[in-house]
């Protein structure tokens, strides 16, 4: 089967209903088994401004929003004016011919004006549906799937509304068949339907797969989608979901719930995470496993609320005062987010420490298709050394035994026992015979504050080392990064987190279009860091270029601090928009030509 790879852009003002045609198209494509990647560029306003949704589809892997548009659907003149000039030969623009005027377009761009008044009749909202129908016709997709989606969408409004919308859609479909030139390829039907989800949904579902029973949050873009999904499913899935007064409260509440024995999670963005950090340290100190997701957006401070960045790496690395063990992971795709949450919970439970996930707007609000069979809700659950009371769910632990009230006052149980591994069996409150105090002050093995006697330096040292020792074995539990591509490449592109897909595409483009042999090393686990493996791989690289979505090269500095390796070049983007493959391709070319060792691509389109 020939490779099919096309992208559709829909743009308009916020409030003009871009989401609906976007959803309809995404569902139809995914149901045909096509891979899909969608990114919505928008602004922090509810109405007005400019919103631009790119949906890219193909029968091969679709790892980013790509570089080109095949179809432009402008819902207002502004979108027409901004984007039409970027279309290349073979592309088309589909629009309301009664309202919008196309400007100058490149040769070979098909101008598809639709007489919306005539086609929609009385249905004022029908124009978007008409445009969608035209796209489908030109992609060689039958009418039935659209009819199915419309029926589902308007189910609540009754038969008459369904029929009206289907008729409008059919009119658009037929008009396109008569008047427009179809694409030279057809969107294939691969049979098995794909699931479509955002990264935020993946995070929430990953939590569900991990057995999360407590979720708390304070709304903050671009993390709010996690809260909304959790809230919508809380009662059906038996999860306690709370919107809390602030992020300080969120993290503290999550720690309380985790301490009591729940798997507990929260998500926020950088500003909220900043408020949480003292409590993250508390989780480290009292050795409570919690998982917190930071969906990064452009900072500092309120920054650009609806734009993406990888700017919180050092915030996560430095969260909270003092030294304490933490695990930090930066998944790269929606599916990776889904799978990483249960894996991280297992590690946090085992090592009794906080776990941080660095997501970002690009993958959290971005949509991707995944094979539904890959959404494994039966993930392995390992809770580490944990002590529960008996009685199935009867938590009052009627400890009638002679020692039921012991623990703290007779040393029968040492919550923070100085074991060889540093991991001490963790009793949850309610267990008979295991009473203790979990204190954020430095404490002894039994939980007594060391300042309650003399501030004993030997004990302080022992406890610091006990907690730190836990981390020695974590690195053996996680998968080291692998070099992708030929060993003897001219250049190695290094990235972390959400940029894996776009860098991979850039590597492929460099090979196929520019004759540049590159390979890729992508890092997912930030702490612990695979120092040995990474050093081994990078010490063989001819030229190392680090690609990241921030100004100061946060990862470049981290790589250097951990391995001593300083990259030869850097590609940094911090204009709020994600990388497109050509940004990286061009940067690599200019660096190989010796023009610079720091490339800062800027988005060509203003959205």
């Amino acid at each position: 089967m020939p490779t099919v790879d096309f992208a559709i852009g829909i743009g308009g003002e916020a409030g003009q209903g871009i989401a609906t045609p976007g959803d309809i198209l995404a569902r139809i494509f995914a149901r045909r088994g096509l891979n899909l990647n969608a990114y919505n560029a928008y602004q922090s306003i509810i109405r007005g401004g400019h919103t631009f949704l790119t949906i890219r589809c193909g029968n091969g892997p679709v790892r980013s929003m790509g570089d080109k548009l095949d179809v432009l659907i402008p819902l207002n003149q502004d979108t027409m004016d901004r984007h039409l000039k970027l279309l290349r030969a073979g592309a088309c623009v589909i629009f309301d011919g009664d309202k919008l005027k196309p400007g100058p377009a490149a040769e070979g761009v098909q101008i598809c004006a639709m007489p919306m008044k005539q086609l929609c009749g009385a249905n004022k909202l029908g124009a978007n549906t008409v445009a969608v129908a035209a796209v489908l016709q030109m992609l060689g997709i039958e009418f039935q799937p659209l009819e199915d989606v419309l029926s589902r969408q308007f189910k609540k409004k009754g038969e008459a509304v369904i029929a009206e919308n289907v008729n409008v859609a059919r009119a658009g479909y037929e008009f396109a068949a008569k008047n427009f030139k179809a694409f030279p390829f057809k969107a294939p039907n691969l049979g098995k339907g794909m699931a479509v989800l955002t990264g935020n949904q993946a995070i929430a579902m990953g939590g569900v797969a991990a057995g999360v029973k407590f979720y708390a949050a304070y709304p903050m873009s671009p993390s709010t989608g996690v809260l909304m999904w959790m809230a919508a499913h809380a009662r059906q899935l038996g999860i306690m979901v709370r919107q809390v007064e602030d992020e300080i409260g969120v993290m503290n509440m999550v720690i309380g719930a985790a301490h009591a024995g729940c798997r507990a999670m929260c998500a926020t963005s950088g500003g909220g995470f900043a408020l949480m950090t003292e409590a993250v340290g508390m989780a480290g100190m009292i050795e409570t496993p919690v998982v917190c997701v930071d969906v990064q957006r452009a900072g500092p401070a309120t920054g650009v609320p609806t734009k993406t960045e990888q700017g919180d790496l050092w915030q996560a690395l430095g969260a909270g005062q003092g030294d304490y063990p933490r695990i930090i992971v930066a998944p790269s795709t929606q599916l990776d987010l889904f799978n990483s949450i249960p894996e991280l919970f297992n590690l946090c439970d085992k090592y009794q420490c906080p776990g941080l996930v660095l997501s970002d707007l690009l993958i959290s609000e971005g949509t991707a298709s995944v094979n539904p069979d890959d959404l494994n809700f039966k993930a392995k659950i390992e809770r580490g050394d944990i002590i529960f009371p008996n009685g199935n769910g009867n938590g009052n632990g009627n400890g009638e035994g002679a020692n039921a009230f012991s623990g703290y006052n007779d040393n029968a149980y040492l919550r923070y026992k100085n074991t060889e591994s540093g991991i001490s069996p963790r009793a949850v409150p309610g267990v008979p015979g295991h009473i203790y105090v979990a204190a954020t002050d430095e404490h002894d093995e039994d939980g007594t504050l060391i300042s309650d006697e003399f501030t004993n330096p030997a004990k302080r040292r022992m406890m610091v080392e006990k907690r730190a020792r836990k981390m020695e074995t974590v690195v053996n539990q996680i998968t080291p990064p692998k070099l992708v591509g030929p060993d003897n490449a001219m250049v190695t592109l290094v990235g972390w987190g959400s940029t894996e897909g776009v860098i991979r595409e850039a590597v492929e483009k460099l090979a196929s279009e520019e004759g540049v042999v590159a390979n890729q090393l992508h890092i997912k686990w930030i702490v612990p860091f695979h120092v040995e493996e990474i050093t081994r791989i990078l010490s063989r690289s001819k030229r190392i270029i680090i690609v990241e979505n921030n100004y100061s090269g946060q990862f470049a500095r981290y790589l250097r601090s951990e391995t001593g390796i300083a990259a030869h070049g850097h590609v940094r983007k911090y204009d709020g928009e994600p990388f497109m493959p050509h940004h990286i391709v061009n940067a690599v070319k200019e660096q190989l030509a010796g023009a610079t060792n720091l490339s800062v691509p800027t988005h060509e389109i203003y959205v």
Binding site: V196, M253, A258, M282, I386, E400, V431
Partner: protein, 304 residues
Amino acid sequence: MSTVTVVEEAPKQAAQLTKDSYKGKIHPDWCPGCGDFSVLSALQAALFELGLKPNQVLVVSGIGCSSNLPGFINTYGMHTLHGRSLAVATGAKLANHELKVICTGGDGDGYGIGGNHFVHTMRRNIDLTYIVMDNQIYGLTTGQVSPTSVKGMKTKSSPHGSVENPINPMPMAIVGGATYVARGFSGKQKHLVELIKGAIMHPGFALVDVFSPCVTYNKDNTYQWFTPRVKALEDQGHDPTDFRAAMDKAFMWGDEIPIGLFWKRTDLPSLEDLEPVLHEGGPLAYRELGITDEQAKAVIKELL
């Protein structure tokens, strides 16, 4: 590898609850004469009189002299961050609503840095007991002005006298949604025991603000100052279900300062009552993890 241990309860002879069952390992390191000793004793007495087993109780504090209390009592304890006890306790209570969860701390901890949590925890009417050892000063940090320091009070951080109005926790709590609002005095321990017992048994958010003199740093609001002024509401025929009367009493300050139960209502559901997730299956913390195949199918179906 994971070792989930389940502690079987020994079917031996029943453990005998005595007053000493609540005695902590550490002797309190408060200054001799500190009001907090009396609050600790009152809490221990209340737990004993209510027959609550130490392993069924979780005492959660913030940071401050008063917040050291969990270390001095034999129950499960959490000694959290400055100002955060209510948030942590809310999480713990929702995770295991069969625990009795009691928060303890100071006025700075609760009404200052923790003020936001205080306001929102009250309006949720979650079943927590909050005991504030209100000494109108920051003790642990050696004597700075606190949100309840009276106007004009000279402290190390207000050497010319505080020019700010203090918080009055009683009316705040009454209008803020707390459904049990009381004030005690360390100098009247028996009375305090009753207030704490009532608070623990109250199925909603209960505040017990306690005048608990800091003998080291607050030379204004001393035992000698309070003793002649405090008057128990219980001796005055106050009706704690009468909102207006409660508010009138709550604003009294000066030669006569009421202590006792100001306000109580039992007609409102608690947060736990309103959360169906808690209604079946026991504490969330002890439930089996994961979802059923049917639930997973339903979730995936939404994505197709």
